[in-house]
Structure formats: C-alpha cells, structure tokens
C-alpha cells in the first residue's frame, strides 16, 4: 500500500493539516481542491478574526473550546513563520444592558475555564478611553487582548506555498467523486482527474464534508451553510476601531462585528442566515441582510461612515455541523478515514491546533513516520512595493522596472507583484487579487482588471478573453471582439 495521504479541501484547515503532515518523513501528501485556487470556500469570506476562545462552552462544544485557545496561541508562531501579517489588536465585547453585563460575566468565567489569558471587564469610561468611537450607551466591555485579525485568504495562500515547498502536491479543479473503501479500509479517492490511491483520506472539505463522509459510508452528521454578509468601507473612511468590536453574543451567533481589517479597511458583518443543506454555493447578498448588518453595527458605534463609502459587499458560508461542535477524529470504520469537519467559527483560530490534533490522533491510529530532518517552517512573502521605504523602492525598481509599473491604482500594486503572484500559483484574476490586493480598492477592479488579464494572458500563453475571474466558466469575455459577427466558434 502506498504511503500517501489525500487531504480533501484546500482551505485553511486542510492546508494546516497538510503543512503538519508535510513534516513527516516518507509520507506523500496530496491536497485535492474542486475550485481553481486554494481557500475559495469558507476560508476566503469571513471576519479574519483569530478569536481568543472565551465564546465556546467547554461542556457542549469541547473541541471548539479547547482548539480555539490553543490555535490562537499557535497562530502567533505560524504567522511569523509564514510571514502572514496579523494585527494582534485584541477584542472588546460590548455590553449595552444589564442583561448584557450578566453575559459578560459568563464569558469571563468561561474564558478563565478555557484558559484564555488576560481577560478583563472594563467600565464604559475605560472602553471609550480605548475606543472613542464606541457608542455612548455601552456600559461595560470584556477586553480580550489576545484576539487578532489576519487576512484569511492571505493566510491560506501562505500555508499553500509553505506546503508546496515541503513537497505537498496541491491539485486544483479536482473534484472528489468517491472515496474507495475496501475491506473496511480506505484505498483512495476517485476524482474528476482519476483515482488517487492513499492509505489515509483526510476530510477537510468544509461545506461539503458531510458529502465526502457519505462517500466513505459515514453519515452521523450533516453540514448546513450559514450565510454571513459583510460590508467593506473605503480605506480612507473612518473612524476605524483599533480593536475588534463585538456585541454581546446570542446563543446563535457572535453577532455583527465592527473591525479594521489588516489592510486597513473598516468592515462590518456578518449576519447569520441558515440555508438549506444543498445551498452550498449560495454566497449571494441581500438587501435585507445588508440592512440588518448596518443596523446592528450602528448600535456599537457612535456613527458609521456614510453609505457611499461602502466599496464592496460580499457574503460567505460557514459550515455549521449538526452537532454544533468541530468534528475532529480518526475513524475506525472505515480505517484510514480522518475528519476535520464542521469548522464553523472559531475555525480559523483553531486551524493550527486542529492540524496538530489530527496528527496526534493519526499517530494513535498507526501513523508511524518520523519527522523530516529538513523541513522548511518559513515561507517568504512576496514583495509589497507600497510597503517599502522610498530608498528600497528605488533600488527595487532600478533592478526590475516591472516593480515600478503600477497596475492597480487604488491599492498601488505593480506588474512585478502580479507576475510574482502568477509564478506562485495564481491562474485567475481572483487568484491575483487574493495574493496582491489588486482590484480590492475603491474602483473594484474597473481600472486594473484588463491590465491584469493581459499579464495573465502573457504569462500563461492564453488569449486575453479566455482569462478567467475564478476558474472555468468565468472567462472575462466570450471571444475576440468580432467573434459573433464572424460566426467564429466561441466559448460556451
């Protein structure tokens, strides 16, 4: 039997697991992903918050409670190793009523029990001293200094690059159609690109984890999409909080957050709308949802910027497991089937801890590989021209003029950075966007999309019209400009 593990799903969880497994000697790690790039499921559209871990009830949701706290701490190391920009800004849970104050005390007690350090309840005056923009009716807040914010797509890309450097194969646009089980053991996965044999199959398929599980004969849980909508403001719009602002949570959700992203945009969201189990791609936004987010966010702060400062709205789906808790396990039946599923919030925070937990469980179940002597913990981030001092910038441009050719005017992204992103694996407009921020500014790509497509076309050797926004079926155009008149064969 092949000593290979197939990880299903190249999200933040699947890639964290792949990263940890890539440290083992003599184990081949293959990640399969149905989308055209890594991190395009739940990983790309969320708050990006590394929760500190006081939210989760250790009795009802032991995995969430344990792994969030541990993952939060691990991220400090992982982010440094992988050059992922993180702002360890801390968070405030704002209380606006006596009932809220009671809940704050519950959260504090739970945080202490979960092992969250440095928690403290602040009075209203202290809160406004830290965050002058907080609403006057806030009477208290739970301050959690260990919470942080990162860019979830940047983190996923960083993990993927580190995985590849350590020998992991990532197969994109590869859909898993079946899990082959023989005599009670997994033998591999059937995919849209053929069969991949494996001794271990790790199910990190996010929203689709329940379907992958069923392919392996496991049906003790379901995953339903919980939609969350967000609004992103112009970088220049403020005021922006220095810390993450949460409302006092309800049993269903942590509520609508007001935060400053690592890129420096004010962002509000999400709401929480449970969708039918099969609505796993329905990342649409709604008037009602966005209005709700606006109303809820308005309660936390004195004033939001004007509505015309909103540059983008989006929605993401969180994979809500039927049992509520993360599913982190190695199954006895079928043997070799491993699951990291139902990674709803605080899944991003927990991901590194989930990966180590999976390794521990696999070891208990017969994985006996030692660690590699040479394993690269570090990953170097691409150059960010706008982050350089003027002297460095001059030197860089004189060595490579393409770093002086700005293609995205709003975010100041250069051709050199775009080419670097393509060499690192971007094949689409969105792939470039998530790696460089080109197209994430106020014009939302209207100025730069075509210049980026032209660079992609050149680097990939394809006609410009056939460059896709997000994989097959999302081509920029339908052919050359005269194709309809000339009756040429054009894409369908």
């Amino acid at each position: 039997m092949l000593d290979r593990v197939v990880v299903v799903g190249a999200g933040v969880v699947g890639l964290s697991i792949a990263r940890v497994l890539s440290a083992l000697e003599g184990l081949e790690v293959v990640v399969v992903e149905k989308e055209a790039d890594v991190g395009w499921g739940a990983s790309k559209a969320n708050t990006g918050i590394i929760h500190s871990g006081y939210d989760d009830d250790p009795v009802k949701y032991p995995n969430r409670a344990r792994l969030a706290v541990k993952g939060n701490r691990l991220w400090t190391t992982w982010a440094e190793q992988l050059s992922i920009p993180v702002d360890w800004c801390g968070s405030l849970v704002l209380a606006r009523s006596s009932e809220d104050r009671r809940v704050l005390r519950e959260l504090l007690a739970r945080g202490i029990r979960n092992g969250v350090p440095a928690l403290r309840i602040l009075d209203g005056e202290e809160v406004r001293a830290l965050e002058p923009m907080v609403s006057e009716d806030v009477v208290e807040a739970l301050w959690s200094p260990t919470a942080g914010v990162l860019s979830p797509y940047e983190a996923t890309v960083a993990l993927a690059e580190n995985c590849v450097e350590n020998g992991v194969k990532i197969l994109t646009e590869t859909l898993v159609k079946g899990v082959r089980v023989k005599d009670g053991s997994v033998e591999g996965v059937e995919t849209s690109r053929g069969f991949i044999g494996a001794r271990w199959v790790v199910n990190a398929a996010g929203l689709y984890a329940d379907e992958i599980a069923r392919m392996a004969g496991v049906s003790d849980y379901t995953i339903t999409p919980r939609r969350g909508e967000y609004l992103v403001f112009d970088k220049d719009a403020g005021p922006k909080p220095s810390r993450i602002l949460f409302p006092t949570p309800t049993p269903v959700s942590k509520g609508v957050v007001v935060e400053t992203t690592v890129a420096g945009n004010l962002m509000i969201g999400p709401n929480a709308v449970d969708l039918p189990r099969d609505a796993k791609e329905e990342t649409y936004t709604t008037k009602e949802g966005l209005a709700y987010v606006w109303r809820e966010a308005s309660k936390l702060v004195k004033k939001l910027p004007g509505k015309r400062e909103v540059i983008r709205v989006f929605s993401g789906l969180r994979p809500q497991p039927s049992g509520g808790d993360f599913i982190v396990r190695v199954l006895e039946e079928p043997e070799g089937f491993v699951e990291a599923a139902g990674m709803r919030s605080p899944g991003l925070a927990a991901a590194p801890a989930v990966a180590l937990e999976i390794l521990r469980l696999m070891r208990l179940n017969g994985l006996d590989h030692g660690f590699k002597k040479r394993w690269k913990a570090e990953r170097r981030a691409g150059l960010r021209i706008m982050g350089l001092g003027w002297d460095m910038l001059e030197k860089t441009v004189s060595r490579n003029p393409s770093y002086g050719r700005v293609v995205c005017w709003c975010e100041g992204v250069t051709e050199g950075e775009v080419v670097d992103a393509i060499r690192r694996g971007a094949k689409t407009i969105d792939g470039v966007k998530f790696r460089t921020r080109a197209g994430m500014g106020r014009c939302q790509g209207a100025f730069c999309r075509l210049r980026i497509a032209a660079i992609l076309a050149r680097e990939l050797g394809k006609p410009i019209w056939s460059i896709t926004v997000k994989g097959t079926g999302s081509e920029l155009g339908v052919g050359d400009v005269k194709s309809l008149l000339e009756g040429e064969d054009v894409a369908d």
Binding site: E394, V397, P401, G404, C443, L450, K470, G477, D480
Partner: protein
C-alpha cells in the same frame, strides 16, 4: 532620491491635463511636467472610438481617438516633460510655493517639488456595489468604461446578451457599441423617470437600434455563480423604491454598470484639500484653485463634465491661473464669496468668487424642466433656459464687476 524642481506639475494626461500642459507651456511656464498612470496619453479618449468630440471647439466632429491625437500632438510639439506609466503615490503641501509628489514609474521613483500643480486625475466609475446591486458576484459584471476598454483597446467581446444599468452617456454609447458587434442588448435600465444621458445619445444609440429603455426601473440583483446568468429588474415607485410585484428576471450574460462617475480626489484629499460633497470634487475659486494655494483642479477630477470641451477649457484656465501664480508669487487676498446653491440645482462650480476676473459657472440641474429661469437674485440676473436636463451642464458667465459689487451670491433654477 532624485528630487526634481518644476514650475508646474500636471497630474493626469487626459483632455484636461493635456490642455493644461499645452496652455502653460505656450504661456511660457518653463519647467512643465505631466505625469499619467496609463501607458498612453489621452485619458479615456482613446477608448472612445465613436464620434461626438470637438465639434464645439474645432468645428469638426471627431472620434475620441482623433481628438486625443490632436491634443497629444500639441503637447509633443511643446516643451513639456511627459511621464507615462507614472503613478502618483502621494501628494503633499510643503509650503506656499512648494508642493511635493512622489511618483513611481518603471524608469524609476521620482520626487517632484512643484511651485504649482494642476490636478486633472479624472474620475472613476461607480461600481455595482455603489449602485446597491446585490446577489452574486460572477464574471460578466463590468462598468461601461471597462467594457469600452475591453472591446476597443483589448479586442475582447464581453458577452452575448447584455443589460445596461444606467442611461448615462457612457451607458448609451456602450449599448450601441455592443449592438454593433452583434451583442443583443436586452434593456437599458434607468432609475429616474428620464434618461441620464444627452438626448442626442438616446436617439442615436438606443432608438436607432430599437434598444428598449426602461425608465423608472432598477437592477436589483445579479444571478449566476461563475458567469452572469440573469439579472432581476423591477419598476420603482415615486420614492425610487422597487415595487416587489414588478420584479422580473432578464436572462443575460453581461451586466454593464453605467451609474455615474466620481471625481478621483484621493491624492488631493490626502494633501489636505477641501472636498465639496455636492460635486465630489475639490472646492475651487474662480482661478480653479483648490483650498491648497497653487494647486488647481480641472476636468472630471474637478466636476463630472459631459462635454470634453468643458474639461479642456478648465485645464486651460487652471494653466493660466498657475502661470499667474508663478509670475506673481500667488494671489492677493480678497473677500471671497461662497456661491450658495439654491433650489433646482445640484451644484455650482467654482464655489468661491471674488471678482478678479470674469468667471464661467458650471451648474447642474436637479431635474429636467422646460422654460426654466436661472436666477441670481443678488445681481438681479435672470436667464431664460428653454430646456433643462440634469445630463447637460448649464454654463453661465458672470462679469467680474458684477461679482465685485455683490454682497453675496445665490444661484437657483425656477
């Protein structure tokens, strides 16, 4: 770091910036530098392959490309130092006679120290998000200007069946352009009960091609995950709110967003210039000088124009003002009057008048009307206008002596 001292820095090489650089050079301003982000000069003119340019000024109807060539030739024949693919990272106000700009180009990173600046960075298009369109976010949703560039700069056909949101001039022109390449334009959807573009464009771009114009309608949402599959359109009531019972689905694979332009003022605002919420551009005086002394604004970065000639004349005025600023070491203090925008108008530019010179006012009406009167009560001035449309800029020239004698000035449309 090389710092280049210049007399005039022109930011933006579209019609306003080109006109400014040429005029300044002709007046004798010595060190004139023009920077532009694109590889080619002309701003958006080169992507406008349709006619309708230059008639008022040159007596000849030209395409955008032809006009661009004319303007570029004029600048090339003069002593103007042109930097293309030159992105201005930031601008700063250092002192009364010194403004800084950090400019990144493939040929190096430069810092300019300029006595005067003409800021003509143009506008950007409002996006589907700014238009409040919800739903999914697939390929096939592009702004009208992007569609022009796609087709006529890069040679891409963006779709087979299109819906255009917004009936501004660019939207109308793009609807026709798509039709000419065999794309079926199923509807142009306009929120207001009247078209957003010039009447001649409604006739020449829609009626001549039997493209339906849905007035008092709105695009609510986009459907389709990878590629646009359809859009939801509804009629609106008098408060511009969608009437739920009228929602209909229009299958299409392309949604063109033509819901207006916004002046690009980030660099100006970053340097500390005051912005007028009515225009989205900077507050300027009759020299087109912003609240930063020696920094002038022109073209769509100042106010959204519908005629290229207006952008060009603003560029030229800004250049003349920069020349005076350099020669005289700035302008004398005066009792500036803030023009008050009265009923019936969205904005008036320039916003500040003192009566140093005769001044041309640019105004936009709030709604269409027939037989209107433009009033400045303080001057006892009344101008009869046969037909007024928000799409068409109204201009009015005031004599310096009239401005001088007025205590204050209010402009209104009744």
């Amino acid at each position: 770091m090389p710092t280049r001292r210049v007399d005039l820095l022109v930011v933006g090489g579209g019609p306003a910036g080109l006109a400014a650089a040429a005029r300044a050079s002709e007046l004798g301003v010595r060190r004139v530098v023009l920077v532009d982000e694109r590889r080619w000069l002309g701003g958006i003119l080169p992507q406008c392959i349709h006619p309708g340019f230059g008639l008022h000024r040159y007596g000849r109807d030209m395409t955008g490309c032809e006009l661009a060539e004319k303007l570029i030739d004029r600048v090339s024949s003069l002593d103007v130092d042109v930097y293309t693919e030159a992105h201005t990272v930031r601008m700063g106000y250092e002192s009364y006679l010194s403004k800084t700009a950090e400019v990144l180009t493939p040929r190096g990173a430069f810092r300019f120290r300029a006595k005067t600046v003409v800021y003509a960075a143009g506008a950007r298009e409002r996006t589907c998000f700014e238009a409040g369109i919800v739903g999914s976010r697939p390929a096939g949703v592009y702004t009208a200007g992007e569609v022009q560039e796609m087709m006529d700069v890069w040679g891409i056909l963006p779709g087979r069946e299109a819906v255009v949101a917004g009936s501004g001039d660019v939207g109308l022109i793009v609807a026709r352009r798509l039709t000419l390449e065999g794309v079926k334009v199923k509807a142009v959807v306009e929120l207001m009960p009247y078209p957003g573009g010039l009447l001649r464009n409604v006739v020449q771009c829609l009626e001549d091609y039997q493209i339906p114009l849905l007035l008092s309608h709105v695009v609510l949402a986009v459907e389709g995950s990878k590629r646009v599959e359809s859009v939801l359109v509804a009629e609106v009531d008098e408060n511009l709110r969608a009437r739920e019972e009228t929602v209909k689905r229009i299958p299409c694979d392309l949604l063109v967003i033509a819901v207006g332009l916004i002046p690009r003022v980030e660099l100006l605002a970053g340097a500390g210039a005051m912005i007028d919420p009515k225009t989205g551009g900077p507050v300027v005086n009759e020299f087109l000088e912003t609240s930063l002394p020696g920094v002038f604004a022109a073209g769509n970065a100042l106010v959204i124009n519908d005629l290229v000639e207006h952008a060009m004349e603003q560029g030229e005025l800004a250049a003349e003002s920069a020349y005076r600023f350099i020669e005289d070491g700035g302008f004398r203090s005066a009792s500036w009057k803030r023009v008050r925008v009265g009923d019936g108008l969205r904005f008036v530019v320039p916003q500040l008048l003192a009566g140093f010179r005769d001044v041309k006012l640019y105004l936009r009406a709030s709604s269409p009307s027939e037989n209107a009167r433009l009033l400045i009560p303080e001057l006892g001035k009344s101008v009869r206008l046969r037909s007024v449309r928000p799409a068409e800029m109204i201009t009015l020239t005031l004599k310096a002596e009239d401005v001088l004698k007025a205590e204050r000035l209010t402009v209104k449309l009744v």
